[in-house]
Symmetry: none
DNA sequence: CATGAATGAGCCTTCATTCAT
DNA sequence: GATGAATGAAGGCTCATTCAT
């Protein structure tokens, strides 16, 4: 699927990038605080450091901001994840490292992930599809890591089980944010990671 | 915490109950389709089968509708769950049955649960607290079932593990709705239940 | 001009009178507190001791309540004034007594007079005319008393002066209510009366 | 007391002033015709020559319009009055001129004064206080003129009498508007002024 | 006669978007 | 490119009035 083209009146690609970065940063903080719908375009413009007129030089509609935000977050989560993913280990160990890395990324980008997670549904259909595809790519990344384990005979899983496991891992990451009101009261990230890994893996080893 | 009193101009308690049931039903279908913020009070009234004026005879503000919806869903999930929970089995078997029952309830109330799940954050602070508490009660219910298993020596878990497991089970139920775009394409409820039970339990047995 | 007919669904004239008295009493207290426009018909009904449905059995529209209130107040002011007006004196003495009596009535009915005074303009045209006519009758009453003085040669005034004096007296009564935030801080009714009489009369005597 | 700050989204102070002047002009004509409560914000916007959206760029709430109107009128009355007040005369003559000037101003601003006079009570509490204070300033202005006469030995009055006289003069000005339905039928402004001056002064001279 | 639930026109206000400067 | 004043559709909510019981 094509990356959605967010329209801009401005030619200078460099400038577009810069302005949109300001925008995303401002928007995330506002969305975190009051959600997408309760945030006005004026507020976004102000928080981004420019006028409402300028905001609309770089987007076509308010929803584009949300799209940009979601897109950027996915990108960053993926990039950071790749960075953390040392490939020097293998088998279950690699899976554990991957999960821990994923959780770490999520924790670092708590607010962003939560926003993305809660507001995605407000995207217009086209954008939603695209973002959902990004989510599936994330899923595929995780799935691949699991699949590697299986192929290395480190664990034995059917194809369906692999898919399910990937979903589970993904959600366990997300729930660290959307259930933080309960989880982060009881566990540190490390505890959370260890416990979840235990639940995830125990019995999976040969 | 006190149940939030939603104000009504109408005195007949019976009627209030009836109208609010209409309201909740209408609202859920709309919230499912377009979300809380994109749904107008006029639409809610119409879908509920009465006028905008009448709607406001039974609520004080739009947010009250959301609260009523969330409250009703929790209540119904809990009631149905209790109904399904046959107490004739014990140990791990009982846990499995409970999880299956819980998943079944979630599946039956898909739309409702999804709405509640996605829109809860739009509640005003007081109402949010109350609803979050309901969520914790659900958590406690699951936790108790797990705890029973542990006390029967059916499984061995630390206190923290019990808590985490309860969270996991709860979320695994919810994700059936909020990831349905992926999960329900690949799995039937039965498959989903079986697979999740397998992941949940394998290795937990003595 | 005809007294405006306020429509009623009820036949029993006795009952109409009773209910409307309740209504006027309730309405005055509410209008005093929040003004005609900010008072709802529901509030009037409640304060009057019956339901909104019953209210509309005795009036045709909200404005009728205001009309009824204004009419009743004029009536009462006039009645009380007549009562106070001992006819045993004559000349300037009688004028002074009349003014003092008038001021006393105003003071006793402060709230009512103020309401009438401030809300009259909200009456529908027809009713306004009628009420304004009542005001003119009041004017005439005062004028007559002044005119008597002149005819008795107690004071010398042209016809125009008589008219103006009547207006002045009337307004001096009303201002005791609508400037009470200033006047009643500085003067008692007695002081106010004495001072105003002095201003009114000094120099008028032969 | 601080002048109430009416909020505006627009930054250009010059523009704010201009728009608010349009607004006040439009609002006065509407309030005169139908009163504050019966006038809608849309009507105000239209009459002012801009859209409802623009109206709200210059005020925070409908009541602000009323406040702006009242404030502006007081200001203008005071300014005009100062202008008319030639200081070349003294004693009773000066008082007479002042009263005549005041009446003239009132007559010129009939509608405005009447509006202010009748709708003041609809102001929110804070604004009401502020406007009442303006009224007291007016009072003080008149009082000072009277006091000057007394100090010049032109007339002899106790302190209380001075205060009362100021109130009387003020009200005699206002009544020219709120009793115009009667007074302006019978008198021209000049006649009214002469007669009132006569009543006011006769006997006050040494 | 009394009641009060139902109605919907209409109000105030917000805010995404445009466009002249 | 940047600005921010202008716009008006649309939303939440109120309340005078009606009418079935």
């Amino acid at each position: 699927m094509q990356k959605k083209k967010v329209p801009s009146m401005v030619k200078d690609e460099q400038l577009i990038k810069k302005r949109r970065e300001q925008m995303i940063k401002g928007a995330v903080s506002l969305f975190t605080e009051k959600g997408f719908h309760r945030t006005t375009t004026r507020e976004i413009a102000k928080q981004s450091g420019f006028s409402i007129g300028t905001l609309y030089e770089y987007i076509g509609a308010k929803e584009d901001v949300l799209y940009l935000v979601c897109d950027a977050i996915y990108e960053e989560v993926r990039d950071r994840l790749k960075q953390y993913l040392g490939t020097n280990t293998s088998g279950v160990e690699r899976l554990k490292e991957a999960v821990a890395a994923y959780f770490k990324v999520i924790d670092e980008m708590e607010d962003e992930v939560l926003v993305m997670y809660q507001e995605t549904k407000s995207l217009p259909k086209e954008a939603l599809k695209y973002v959902l595809q990004k989510e599936m790519e994330m899923n595929d990344m995780i799935e691949q890591i699991v699949r590697d384990c299986v192929e290395e005979d480190a664990i034995a899983l059917t194809n369906e089980e692999i898919k399910m496991l990937a979903h589970n891992i993904l959600v366990k990451g997300q729930m660290w944010t959307f259930r933080r009101w309960a989880l982060q009261k009881e566990f540190t990230l490390e505890q959370y990671t260890q416990l979840q890994l235990k639940f995830l893996l125990t019995g999976l080893k040969r």
